[in-house]
């Protein structure tokens, strides 16, 4: 029986039924393709005194010996595309400082970074760019790895090109429902705590946190300051998005720490 049920559970029909029933919906789809490159939807900021840095490893080169570029797509906080930049891997690692040449100052938004081969390939590759993003004051960066495998670009399409016409899809399940996430830490009331949410789906999402409810546009972001009160227990996030796990930026006495929570 288990031998029969397991393939059904993981089939397209099974996943659809699970989504409708709200029973263990599949989280992401990046393993559905033989040739795919995927990325987190990272948050960037140049607001106040903050700076952002991104560090990528040439995964295609290291694991598959395939020459590649990094396609950096930058959006504003409303999810509107600001720029598409291509960076060549001339060594195993690439560091991108989000200065005025990359993003406008005094703003925030989202970005994703896809590793794409120089030319069309036929061998199976599945690249996950979880890499590392850092936020800091005066370039003293607090580093953090990717939060979720959020955006993917199947490379199966023979018409795939390296310009902005590449077919990007959400890698996360867009199923709509009522989903809860509890922050896995207790926050201090002696610090400024800001939760950072990004939305990689093709639709807007709704998020409820304490007394606040807000919508995040597709590819956009939202920063929510959390005021920690005496006796507050755990913090719950409720959303119609399956994976509403934020990152958190904690600031105290001129220092900053960013991590997933």
């Amino acid at each position: 029986m288990k031998k029969f049920l397991k393939p059904l559970f993981h089939s397209a029909l099974g996943r659809r039924l699970r989504d409708i029933a709200g029973y263990r919906p599949q989280l992401n789809y990046y393993n559905d393709f033989d040739r795919v490159t995927s990325s987190d939807l990272f948050y960037w900021t140049s607001e106040e005194d903050l700076r952002t840095v991104f560090k990528a490893t040439d995964i295609l080169g290291k694991y598959h010996d395939i020459s590649s570029n990094l396609l950096l797509v930058i959006n504003n906080r409303n999810g509107e595309r600001l720029s598409v930049q291509r960076k060549k891997f001339d060594s195993e690692n690439l560091t991108i400082f989000f200065d005025d040449s990359v993003v406008p100052s005094g703003q925030s938004g989202t970005f994703y970074a896809l590793m794409v081969p120089d030319k069309l390939i036929t061998t199976p590759v599945n690249v996950i760019n979880r890499c590392y993003v850092g936020y800091g004051i005066s370039e003293d960066y607090s580093m953090m790895h990717g939060n979720q495998v959020a955006i993917m670009c199947p490379l199966d399409n023979d018409e795939f090109t390296l310009d902005s016409s590449f077919p990007v899809l959400p890698a996360l399940n867009p199923v709509k429902g009522r989903f809860e996430y509890f922050l896995q830490e207790s926050l201090s009331n002696s610090a400024r705590n800001t939760l950072l949410f990004t939305n990689p789906l093709a639709r807007d999402i709704t998020v409820k946190l304490m007394d606040a409810e807000f919508e995040i546009p597709s590819m956009g972001c939202e920063e929510v300051n959390v005021v920690v009160e005496q006796g507050m227990s755990r913090i719950r996030v409720v959303s119609d998005f399956l994976w509403p796990r934020p990152s958190i930026m904690i600031r105290r006495h001129g220092f900053i720490d960013v991590h997933h929570c």
Binding site: Y132, M143, H259
Partner: protein
Amino acid sequence: MFSGRIIDERWSFTPFEFPEGAWFLELEASHDNQDDIFFLARPSEVESMIACGELLSVNKFTDTTPDYRSNLKIVNAKGGFSSYQAEYPFLMMKKLSSLYTDCSPLTSSRCERVGVFLRNIYSKPLISERKVYLYNNEMQKIIAEFKVLLNSTNFLDLTRFKSDLKNSFLYGVDFIGVPIYFIEYESGAISMEHTHPPHELIGGSDRFGLVQRLKERLGEKISKAFVSQRLG
């Protein structure tokens, strides 16, 4: 909640009580407990580990989506702080394969201090020594050799190599663990984050095969450099 440590070549466990109604238990690190492990289990499950003489996967309480994690935070005298969401998967406790971690992404040459905590947990109550090599791709040589211990929190101070870390990696033989990189800046600010294991950077059915082949290539580099530097 239990803590565990090795005493006289055997695992020894101590229970903690959760304060009534609390969602989180806060523990402070010290020199005494820095190599301890912490986990959630029932007393009967702990007794089964004592009887067996090694760590076991006794329950599925922390087999959750999203992954069940604790918050591990460090602070310094200047007020700088950093934390990351920590876990140590049980499957890693059963293995003694090879460690590979790229030093570039989570280090910086403009720092006061930089290093990596290599935390190992092995199911058997062994505290034995292993070697970890720091290899520089540009120079094509081993630039440092470190001794690490199983079932310990090992700190590798990489400060004197900070200008070389952009093109370097760490490689351990018969040793795996979670590499947690640490940067302390002159201002007192801190960064702390772990690198992903190689198999989490690629997907597909052959990902473990790809990782194995990568580690074999890197292992050959280390071996060649080891021999040539010894003969040198």
